[in-house]
Amino acid sequence: TQLLEQSPQFLSIQEGENLTVYCNSSSVFSSLQWYRQEPGEGPVLLVTVVTGGEVKKLKRLTFQFGDARKDSSLHITAAQTGDTGLYLCAGAKNTDKLIFGTGTRLQVFP
């Protein structure tokens, strides 16, 4: 059972465009993380959000945790080709394990 659904699954855009990726669940999470994965490599942690309503910014990336701690979004402003990759959200439910979303594959064309 996949508890974390990401949308869209695939996104193909031109450089300079803005985009938003969503991570949704019916479950409450104690924290949520976003990772980016490039081909042939493991996922790399981008950010962790722990408080409902929290917003974090990492240069052109803005992450938000939903008020009810069931969902999150990742917004990229003025996408660059270097943003290309697989974006994964992952939620923690006060256990030793993270639950990963299905992923959003982003392709940014020059």
């Binding site: 924290s31 993380q33 493991g42 923690a92 006060n94 030793d96 394990k97 979303g101 992923g103």
Partner: protein
Amino acid sequence: DAGITQSPRHKVTETGTPVTLRCHQTENHRYMYWYRQDPGHGLRLIHYSYGVKDTDKGEVSDGYSVSRSKTEDFLLTLESATSSQTSVYFCAISDMGQGKAYGYTFGSGTRLTVV
């Protein structure tokens, strides 16, 4: 980012043979995890460890076993490989449990093909 290394990076093996993948960390982190990544399924937890000789099953543990005899090494064994175990395997480490405010550090993966 060395801190965590997986070996081998690539392996081709025959159906029915045993296979062991190794994960080695130099961070002295307590928690270690084995995931497999397949198209359409994302990352799925196979087994994890919360200390030396302390391990537990994940959601897709059938056909896999693990061992952790020292903090730095976590081994994943496919007792008798099957074609359904063809996948990319990732090891991850974590400084604290519960993943609450601490992210995982992943290795670069092992691409396993069972023919």
